[in-house]
Structures are given as structure tokens and as C-alpha cells.
Amino acid sequence: MKQDNAQTDHYLSEFARFGKEISRKEPSWLGDLRRKALERFADLKFPTTRDEEWKYTSVAPIAGTPFRVAASHRPNGISRRDLEHALFGGLECTLLVFVNGHHAPELSHGRPLPDGVKAGSLAEFLEREPGLVEPHLARHARFEDQAFTALNTAFLKDGAFIHVPRMKVLSEPIHLLFVTTGNGAPPVSHPRNLIVVEEGSQATVVENYVTLLGGAYFTNAVTEVVAGASSVVDHCKLQREGEEACHVSTLQSHLGRSSRFTSHAITLGGALVRNDVNSVLDAEGAECVLNGLYLAVGCQHMDSHTFIDHARPNGTSREFYKGVLAGASHGVFNGKIMVRKDAQKTDARQTNKNLLLSEAAMVDTKPQLEIHADDVKCTHGATIGRLDEDALFYLRSRGIGENKARSLLVHAFASDIVEKIPVEPIRTGLQCELVTRLPLGIEARGNP
């Protein structure tokens, strides 16, 4: 346990250094929040594989590296052109760029938004309009028992703040691009996003994580989504970071009456990735859709944890996660659905399908249903399989080469999750990216 303390101590001393940088204009409630969160982190420490929620994912590479909080400086030398590869052709959107966790206005661009809609840097809103932020910030993403959320909350500084007042429809998505430049001492950033969509409104938000110069670093992101009554919120999380990146994130959504929240989580990059997607259906008739795709090659480790909390009656949830695992990669899916006593007439469905493309690749899948109401409809299913040899032979018997047939089948397996993304340029861009990233099924046998 000594080592744990050393690891935790590193962040405590980082916090002391970080404290000096914090703006003096920061509201006092935020200071209290930070201290509480830091205390919780010091108590909780980094999770280990003895912890049930982290059984299949060792965070030793994160805990063992003395990551430094990335300094807030202007992103010298980074230009819009450097970001082209991470953006999507033809996508009309408000773009907010964050470099090493800090908002970079010179790389961002706005588009006309409906009256009263705010979309910008959380740091700025904390300074200018803290009253808009305070009622929601850290009210949903619990840090009491989540070490990484506690760490993020202690160090929270910047990220996106989006506020859509009642009855407004955003016709274009808001695109949040998080760029990390990993050269030099390995940096850590703690992006913190808060998305509040009030009654009857509609918004699509894209969180896009990429690496610019490679190298090792750690991203520890937390996003809170508050979906008001009858609102419609689509959230896309694209994880396309470099091969040395560690990435831990929590997407915490709180769903109001008859609201509809959809999450699309596409995980392609990073060395060690853990995504928690949690939804609380906290009013009657809420609808939650969680779609996910993880595609791991080489030694990538990707862990998707989801938790759907049906707290009120007549809620609906649909969850569909797919994994493609090649090389010596490791995938984890842990999907929990809780139906509380009060949540009668809940209709919940969960599916997790995995495709293993090599002998060394592995996946741990664990669906969990916990039902306390007696009039509900809940189903879940998980499969782990290899490429369908019959389908492969069928394609080859029509003249399609073996390697092409294999990649065609893998792509067909993975692409239906991407197809569900409602933003056309992103869908098209990701489909192309899938083709270049997709490994061939098992060892190719030399036929073109």
C-alpha cells in the first residue's frame, strides 16, 4: 500500500502547485468542492483489480506515471491546419477546441446559435456567470466513490459549458475537440464538460479526443449532461487518441421527464481506455439509448462500463455495444441495468456482441440486471464469436479475395454502430476511418 500512497501523494503535491495557478476570481463554492474532491481522492486512491468495478482493468500504467498537470498556455505552434485530420469534411458546426485541456479560442470558431444559447469555455463561464454553472456542476457525476471523478473534480478548470434554454433547437452540432500534445514530460488533463439542455430543447454534442504529436499522456475527462423535460440530446464521444495515450472518462447524464438521451461511444485509439457511461432516468417516461463500438488492435485495452439507472416508471432503455478485438488486445464490457422499485413498466434491452480476430485477443463481458420492480420488461444478451467461416466462403465463392472478404465482414460487423450516428459527415468520416483501422480477420493468408 506504500506505493499507493506515493502515487496519491504525487497528485496532492500537484494540487498544491495547481492551487497557485487558480484564478483568484474563482467562486468560493468551487474551492470547497475541489477540497472535498481531493480529500475523497486521497482516501479512495487509485482503484486496483481487487475492486469489482476494475477487475479486468489495471490502471497501474496511470497510477505509476507521475503525470504533470498541463500548464495553461497558448497553444503555440498549433494551427488550424494541424487539426484538419481530426475534423470532418463538410461538417457545419460550432467548434470549440481545447489544447491540453485548455480552451483555445484562436483555433475555435462559432456559428450562429439560437437566442440565449451559450456554448463556450467552462473556465470563462465560471468567471463571468458562475450562477449558471453552480446549480449543475458536480451535482450528477458522483465523486464520493469514484477516484477518477474525484481527481477530475479537484483539478477541474476548463472544458465546455453548453447551456440551451427552454424550447430551443440547435440545428447544428456543437463539436468539442480535445487535442493533447504528448511530447515532453507526460502531461495529464482533466477536461470537464457541462451540458445543460432545458425543457423542450434539442442539441447534439460531439466530444472528439485526438493526439497531435504522439507521446504518453493521460486524459481524465468528466462530462455531465442534464436533459430537461421533453428534451432531446444526442451525444457522440469519439476516442481517436494516439497509441501511448491513457484515457479515462465518465459521461454522466441525468434524464428529465419524457426526455430522450442518446449516447454514441466510438473508441478507436489509446493504449489504455476506460469509459464509464452512466444514465439516471430520474423522471417518468424518459428514454435512454446507449450505442458503443470499441475496436482494439495490438496491445490496446478498452473497457466500457455502462450503468442505466431506471429510477422512475415508464422508462425505456436500449443499449447496443459491439467490440472488435484483434492482435493481443483486451476488451471489457460491463453493462449494468438497475430497475428501482418505483420504476414500473420499465422496458430495457441490452446487447453486447464481440468479434475476436486472433487467438491472443480477449474480451470480458458482463451484463448485470438488478430488478426491484415487478412489472418490467428487461432483456440482455452477450455474444463472443469469430468471423463466420460460412460467410467468408460465400464471399470468396463470388470472386472476392480472402483478405478483402475478411475486412468486408469485420467492417459489416462494426459499421452498424457508426451508422446510428445522426450527423452525416461524422458518420461518413468514421466509416472511412474504420476501413483504414480495421484489421483483417486472423492472420491473412497471402491472397490479395
Binding site: A391, F393, Y394, L395, I400, E402
Partner: protein, 251 residues
């Protein structure tokens, strides 16, 4: 065009083909009949290149080439087509995509120019009429949630588009009602020609009322035990396969 000499194949420890001899000339239609388990489907799959069967002996020449040395895709590009007994469902891959990729792979092999989307569409529309295929099925995933009849029709439709030189129809009649059978057989007949050979594998004589073969072979326990003209099929229909079984046992 095709010559099979003493072909033997096994799956696991079980020998299924125990020395097949067969010669198919250009333009001929051969029917292969036999009771269930006699090796008919195995023969069809082995000819198409299915790797789960182990070839333990014999040889197969196709247009003078060693067919057994070729990969399934090379066989397809060289003009061999298998209409599957159980067409496979392939979610996420449309029939249009499958056929265009397959057709262009073959054209490339022959040194011909690849068809662009427009030319391909024209070709496809023309061929769809042959088997009365619904255009909507083309853009759906291959065979996914097709009815049994639609799947079989889709096989013949693919054959029409790919224009093989040797088509192997593996129990294309099974599970079809009489109307669907007539449509499928009609499609097959329109594709008959002096340069195209066919091997029609079937359990029942009924299909051969519509696709009249030049030769009929009876496969039994992995060997061709009797060959004849189209009348042999009628004889089998009358007497059943037990007649052959007794003959083989008595010999």
C-alpha cells in the same frame, strides 16, 4: 471443360467422396442425384473450393488447369459458380456490393475494364427480370431475412450477373413451391448456352422436368454408381433409391 478423376475427400475422419469420376463437356447439363448423405453437396462444395474438406486423392482439371490448386476466389474468377444449398446471410453487406466486387474481380482477372456504377446497374436491372427479383432486395444485406424462395432466387440471380462457365446448382429446388421452382428453372434455362456447363445436384426428379439434363448420374456412398440419359431420372423416380442400393449391394 471439367474432368474429375478418382476424387476422394474427407471431413474429419469420415471419408465422404470415395473416388468420383466425371467428365462434363462445354454446354452440357449434368444432373447428380442420390439419396441424402451420398456426398452430393460435398462434391459441389469441393468443386467450389470449400477448405473444410480435405482432398485425399484424385484430381480435377478445369479448362486444363489443376482446379484443386486454386483458391475459391480464383475458381470464381475463372468462371465457376456455386448456387448454395443454404445461402448464407451476411448482415451489413448488400447484394449490390457483393456482386459488383465479385464481377469486377473476375473482369480484372480477364484483363477487362471494371464496370462503373451506372453500367453495373443497367446490367443488374436486366438480369433481375430473369428471376423476377424484387429490386428492393438488391440493396438489402445479402440474404438477410429473405424467405427461402427469395434466397434461392437470389442465387440464380447472382449466377445470371456473374455469367459463369460452369455453374453448380446444389439442391436449388429444395424448399421451393412449384411456382418458385418454375421461376428458378426458367432463369436457369435462359442461361443455358453452348459455352456454359451446369452440374445440377438434386434429390428429386421434379426439377429435371424443368431443367432437362443431358446426363444423369447417381451418387451413392461417395461413388457414381450409375450414369445415363434423362430417362434415368424418371426410372429413379419410379423405383426410388432403394433400387440402386440393392443393385450396389448385390454387385
Amino acid at each position: 471443360m471439367l474432368e474429375i478423376k478418382n476424387l476422394r475427400a474427407k471431413v474429419g475422419d469420415r471419408e465422404i467422396l470415395k473416388g468420383i469420376n466425371l467428365k462434363v463437356k462445354a454446354g452440357e447439363v449434368h444432373a447428380i442425384m442420390g439419396p441424402n448423405g451420398s456426398g452430393k453437396s460435398t462434391l459441389a462444395q469441393v468443386l467450389a473450393g470449400r477448405e473444410s474438406y480435405e482432398i485425399t486423392g484424385g484430381e480435377v482439371t478445369y479448362d486444363g488447369k489443376d482446379l484443386l490448386a486454386m483458391s475459391p476466389e480464383d475458381r470464381a474468377r475463372a468462371g465457376i459458380f456455386l448456387a448454395f444449398q443454404y445461402p448464407v446471410e451476411i448482415p451489413g453487406v448488400s447484394t449490390t456490393y457483393l456482386l459488383r466486387a465479385g464481377l469486377n474481380a473476375a473482369r480484372k482477372q480477364r484483363g477487362e475494364e471494371e464496370l462503373d456504377a451506372m453500367d453495373f446497374l443497367t446490367l443488374v436491372k436486366e438480369k433481375m427480370k430473369l428471376v423476377e427479383m424484387d429490386e428492393g432486395l438488391m440493396n438489402r444485406s445479402v440474404n438477410e431475412s429473405f424467405s427461402g424462395g427469395e434466397k434461392k432466387r437470389n442465387e440464380i440471380f447472382q449466377m445470371a450477373v456473374l455469367e459463369p462457365r460452369l455453374a453448380i446448382l446444389d439442391e436449388t429446388d429444395s424448399g421451393l413451391d412449384i411456382d418458385a421452382l418454375k421461376i428458378v428453372a426458367g432463369g436457369v434455362n435462359k442461361l443455358r448456352g453452348p459455352d456454359r456447363s451446369m452440374i445440377v445436384v438434386t434429390h428429386y426428379q421434379r426439377l429435371l422436368n424443368y431443367i432437362v439434363p443431358d446426363k444423369v448420374h447417381v451418387l451413392f456412398e461417395g461413388r457414381i454408381v450409375k450414369s445415363g440419359g434423362k430417362d434415368l431420372a424418371l426410372e429413379l423416380e419410379d423405383k426410388g433409391y432403394s433400387w440402386i442400393e440393392e443393385k450396389v449391394a448385390g454387385a
